[in-house]
């Protein structure tokens, strides 16, 4: 693009192409996925500064798939509807995040944790999601633990530190976090997946 090495590849960020919007009407160009380029900007300095928050979207294929599963099997979805939901989604994420961030700051904390997010959802009219989300989170954590077959001490509600992206992809630190917050590198081996009573086991197909 501009030869600016500090920016990540725009096409991977899902940046939309030309898009005109006024208070009365919207004109939209026929954007195909993969042809997206950076929004116009003159200077190549900095990375995040040139990208407005509303320009970053989730991949349209993923969004479209979820939509497709939500409507009856025979239903169709117009292309501009998919693109539109893509934008709504970014708006939604920002909406939740800023509310959660506010609460976080109010409590003088720097890291947004799960509770902040759930609180934000509740405040913003999505409280029907809170209980299901807690369940999902529980399953997610157990799945992350179970994958490695390592018995780990359940970590506390908020880890409080940001993990790198690739730490989500199944590399579990083989350590224990003790009650006083110190991390010890202790290898824990087990020969079988521990049956935790009262918790529904997940079947991996």
């Amino acid at each position: 693009m501009d030869g600016d090495s500090s920016t990540t590849d725009a096409s991977q960020l899902g940046i939309a192409g030309e898009y005109m919007q006024s208070s009365h009407f919207v004109l939209q160009s026929q954007d195909e996925d993969g042809e997206e380029g950076m929004n116009d900007h003159e200077d190549g300095n900095g990375s995040k500064d040139n990208l407005r928050e509303q320009d970053i979207y989730l991949p349209i294929a993923n969004v479209a798939r979820i939509m497709k599963n939500a409507v009856p099997p025979s239903g169709k979805i117009a292309k501009d509807a998919k693109e539109c939901v893509q934008e709504c989604v970014s708006e939604f994420i920002s909406f939740i995040t800023s509310e959660a961030s506010e609460r976080c700051h109010q409590e003088k904390r720097k890291t947004i944790n799960g509770e902040d997010i759930l609180f934000a959802m509740s405040t913003l009219g999505f409280d029907m999601y809170v209980e299901p989300l807690k369940l999902y989170l529980q399953k997610f954590r157990e799945a992350m633990k179970g994958e490695k077959g390592i018995t780990a001490v359940p970590v506390s509600e908020s880890i409080g530190e940001e993990l790198a992206d690739d730490s989500f992809a199944n590399q579990l630190p083989a350590g224990l976090i003790t009650t006083d917050g110190q991390t010890q590198n202790v290898m824990v081996y087990t020969t079988s997946y521990q049956q935790i009573p009262g918790v529904q086991q997940i079947q991996f197909s």
Partner: protein
């Protein structure tokens, strides 16, 4: 994939086999971080946001589809989304980015009419 029904309940059991989310968490994180004053986000928060976003897409698609008043009943069109945003309190925050579309020719025509009136 679990779906919201009219009562607003979410069926969790259907998705228990899917420990992952179907949206890329790294991208979600990027969007979150573009909000002002956000310094760091913990793993739980990122997962919850990603999952909530999935639920949101489902909910928005379902609501809009049900209210479909477009020419083709079986198709979810942009106008269905715009209508859903207007009618539902939950989707109020979307009204700014979901303006009702009009055809360019209709707009131009209304422009002409306005200039004619002022003659």
């Amino acid at each position: 994939m679990s779906a919201n029904n009219a009562g607003g309940k979410v069926n969790v059991s259907h998705s228990l086999t899917n420990k992952n989310v179907s949206l890329p968490m790294s991208r979600v994180k990027l969007i979150m971080k573009s909000s002002p004053d956000v310094s760091s986000i913990n793993q739980d928060a990122l997962f919850l946001t990603t999952k909530a976003t999935e639920l949101f897409v489902q909910y928005l698609a379902q609501c809009s589809f049900k209210n479909g008043s477009g020419k083709e009943k079986n198709t979810l069109a942009y106008s269905d989304l715009a209508n859903a945003a207007e009618q539902s309190e939950t989707f109020q925050f979307l009204t700014d980015i979901l303006p009702k579309k009009i055809l360019a020719k209709d707009y131009l025509r209304s422009l002409e009419e306005r200039t004619e009136d002022s003659d």
